[in-house]
């Protein structure tokens, strides 16, 4: 393929062109980062309210409870509880993780790591952010509608999400917001793919790209292919709600309908399972790179890792049915989906061997990005292995829709992605904002987060194994869940600890961005990928002269190099 040289854009001068309507991928990346962090806060607060209710049902939520829920004296009412977990899921998946990992680091890293001056379509890139803002406003607006926000779970299964189950306008706004966000992400994805194909610096083959780019690129492919599937699903849902079509209405509830609510589940999970990988692939890529950078040796089997990611991407499109075992699909489909699901563990096992192979005989520097990356390996190990119970039909008959599922997907999607996101933030901080974050507090942040996070998500799996089902407001109702109350309380306190640990991060981050005097050097981590060949923070044109790539991204610890233990990608392999 080919590379072309982009023009150097004139430096933006006004506030609007610099910070709001900027074409610069780095600024758009930062915009997405702030957007994501804002929603992460909202979603996290919702999580704490959910956890509080599960441990202390009927007791007022501390501090802000009486302000938010005056009519119950501060306790979360059951209908609000349903809205909370619906919005928590939606916000975390679509408005926090997606913007941070794909929006922020995708935008920021792709051109820099490829040696390009900007994305292939800067205007499209800018629009993608502004469309995401509109979507965010729609979603937050739904919280203030008369009957409240969507309350059918983030999966929004009909017929609960049709007018039968949720008459309010909130659910319509939810669907609309998701559709608009899908448009935004698809725009981003088209841009990412085009950029990766056409803008790799001269000399950079696909296997010379950092694995981060592999992860982000595969994510973009999945986004471009499967977001429209969800788009079609929610579009039909909107039609059902607004225009009176009967796609998902059936049974006694539908007056004239002959629709099929299960069809939505099929459509949702055709999208939904790849979505899991959309979220985790960038984190995998980032972690694979960082492990190598901080172990000071080349990534072990980098090509195999890239190919394993690709095969997982392909497999992820074929296994969605394991989310629907309890809807009683035909036995043949059930068996097929189970078997296909199991094959995912082969590429996953390759990841783990390669990750461990990377740190094997390395010379590991335990800086904060490395700690978070090692954390990802740990939590993704737990998350991946617990998935086996759910991919198996018979154990899924018991565990489906219990907290075990919640714990499992939080381990894979929330824990690994969150830790991956933190690793990325700590790592690219100097290139983004020109300063390093405080290492000491970063490490404190890591350890407390790690403790809290495992407490929360392991606790969830334990109560799930105990039989406690999802999305219930009050576990005291059932006898079989009553003995799980101590674990629920433990989980809640872990969540509170984890929540408070993020204050450390926020203070550290805000301090580094706005107040820190001490500037970072151009290459504080001593790694050789292209973004570290330019000044920190990256100038608006990125590269004055387009670099020519002569070696791979993980050239560390080469004994032939004298004077330093790494090589820039622009240097001839020693």
């Amino acid at each position: 393929m080919a590379f072309y040289e982009q023009h150097i854009h004139p430096k933006p001068t006004t506030f609007l062109s610099k910070y709001i309507f900027s074409f610069d991928h780095k600024v758009i990346g930062k915009q997405f980062l702030w957007y994501g962090i804002l929603f992460l806060f909202v979603g996290g607060l919702m999580a704490l309210m959910i956890r509080w209710t599960l441990a202390y049902p009927g007791q007022p939520f501390p501090v802000i409870g009486s302000f938010l829920f005056p009519e119950t004296g501060g306790a979360v009412p059951p209908d609000t509880y349903a809205m909370l977990f619906t919005m928590h899921g939606t916000i975390m998946i679509f408005y926090a993780i997606t913007p941070i990992l794909i929006g922020a680091f995708g935008n920021f890293c792709i051109p820099l790591m490829l040696g390009a001056r900007d994305m292939a379509f800067p205007l499209l890139n800018m629009l993608s952010f502004h469309v995401a803002v509109i979507s965010g406003l729609l979603l937050m607006g739904s919280l203030f509608t008369p009957l409240g926000a969507a309350a059918g779970g983030w999966t929004s299964y009909p017929t609960l999400s049709t007018l039968i189950g949720s008459p309010g306008v909130g659910q319509t706004l939810w669907s609309l917001a998701i559709f608009v966000l899908g448009v935004s992400s698809t725009m981003g994805a088209v841009n990412y793919i085009t950029t990766i194909i056409t803008l790799r610096a001269p000399g950079m083959g696909y296997f010379d790209m950092p694995l981060t780019i592999w992860g982000l690129g595969l994510t973009a492919v999945l986004n471009a292919i499967f977001l429209p599937v969800l788009g079609a699903g929610v579009l039909l849902l909107i039609f059902d709600r607004v225009f009176g079509t009967t796609f998902f209405l059936a049974g006694a509830a539908a007056t004239t309908g002959t629709g099929d609510p299960v069809l939505f589940q099929h459509v949702f999970w055709i999208f939904g399972h790849p979505e899991v990988y959309i979220l985790i692939l960038p984190a995998w890529g980032i972690v694979s790179d960082l492990l190598s950078f901080f172990a000071r040796k080349p990534a072990f089997g980098a090509k195999a890792t890239a190919l394993a990611m690709t095969s997982i991407t392909i497999l992820s499109t074929l296994v969605y049915g394991h989310h629907m075992f309890t809807t009683q699909m035909s036995p043949l489909l059930t068996q097929t989906f189970m078997t296909l699901t199991m094959t995912i563990s082969i590429p996953s096992a390759i990841f783990f061997t390669n990750w461990l192979g990377t740190i094997w005989k390395g010379s590991i520097r335990f800086h904060s990005p490395m700690l978070f990356s090692l954390g990802v390996v740990f939590v993704f190990g737990l998350g991946g292995l617990t998935g086996l119970y759910l991919g198996t039909v018979t154990t899924d008959l018991y565990l489906h829709d219990t907290y075990f599922v919640v714990g499992h997907f939080h381990y894979t999607m929330a824990a690994s992605v969150l830790l991956g996101g933190f690793a990325a933030t700590y790592f690219w901080m100097p290139k983004m904002f020109g300063t390093l974050m405080n290492e000491f507090w970063a490490k404190i942040h890591f350890w407390i987060t790690m403790l809290g996070l495992n407490g929360v998500f392991f606790g969830m799996m334990l109560v799930g194994y105990g039989g406690m089902h999802r999305r219930i407001y009050n576990p005291f109702i059932y006898e079989f869940t009553q003995k799980l109350i101590p674990i629920n309380t433990f989980t809640t306190w872990s969540a509170i600890i984890m929540g408070f640990a993020q204050i450390i991060f926020v203070i550290n981050f805000v301090h580094a961005v706005f107040f820190k005097k001490e500037k970072a050097s151009d290459n504080p981590w001593e790694v050789g990928t292209l973004e570290w060949t330019i000044p920190s923070p990256a100038p608006h044109y990125n590269f004055k002269d387009i670099p020519v790539v002569k070696c791979g991204p993980h050239e560390l610890g080469n004994p032939n190099v004298i004077g330093k233990d790494f090589q820039y990608q622009t240097e001839e392999l020693a």
Binding site: F3, Y4, A120, F121, T194, G205, P228, L263
Partner: protein
């Protein structure tokens, strides 16, 4: 390494936009593919189709729509060809013809919806009605988008855009326009004929 550096401005724009266009069309295809998948699922699990009490929509109007949209695709093809051969007059004529056919398609859709109501197929009359309306609505919305895309060719018509650039614009808008034609033909055969 197999990389070549392209510094020809037009070459590169052509390459970039065609890659992006392919990805965009893949996205749009997935949207329609999902809809068709849903239709197939309804169709094959239904015992009788159309459901009891429903009658099939008459083929007249959809056939007219099909003819119109195929003609518009052909006209677009001729328009692009005449542009490439430098026959600007023919280019303009075919372009306006395409635009008119696009509008005519929308009018035929309006008649179709009116006609459906006349024979008692409403949005909420079973999933049969829902499918016909929803699919044609979604397609029509894309056709409106397509017509707007055609309007972006006006600078090429007026000659204020340079030739190479016009060529790229023509090619990309054309791909989208032909794509909409193909989708309509699939809808026509899938929903109205079978």
């Amino acid at each position: 390494m197999t990389t070549m550096v392209v510094n020809n401005h037009l070459e590169r724009e052509k390459m970039v936009s065609s890659i992006a266009m392919v990805m965009t069309l893949v996205s749009f295809s997935m949207l329609f593919a999902t809809l068709m998948l849903g239709y197939v699922a309804y169709r094959f699990t239904a015992e009788v189709w159309p459901p009891l009490g429903m009658q099939r929509a008459s083929l007249g109007l959809p056939t007219i729509s099909t003819v119109i949209i195929l003609m518009s695709s052909f006209s677009y093809f001729l328009s692009e060809n005449s542009f490439l051969q430098g026959k600007l007059k023919a280019f303009r004529a075919y372009y306006f013809f395409t635009l008119m056919l696009g509008l005519a398609f929308m009018v035929s859709q309006l008649f179709l919806w009116k006609n459906l109501k006349l024979i008692g197929i409403y949005v909420d009359s079973t999933v049969f009605g829902s499918i016909i309306y929803a699919f044609t609505w979604i397609h029509a919305a894309h056709v409106v988008g397509g017509i707007l895309a055609l309007l972006f060719l006006i600078p090429s018509i007026r000659g204020t855009r340079d030739g190479g650039k016009s060529q790229i614009w023509l090619q990309n808008v054309g791909q989208f326009w032909h794509f909409l034609g193909i989708i309509w033909v699939i809808i026509y055969f899938g929903i109205f004929v079978f």
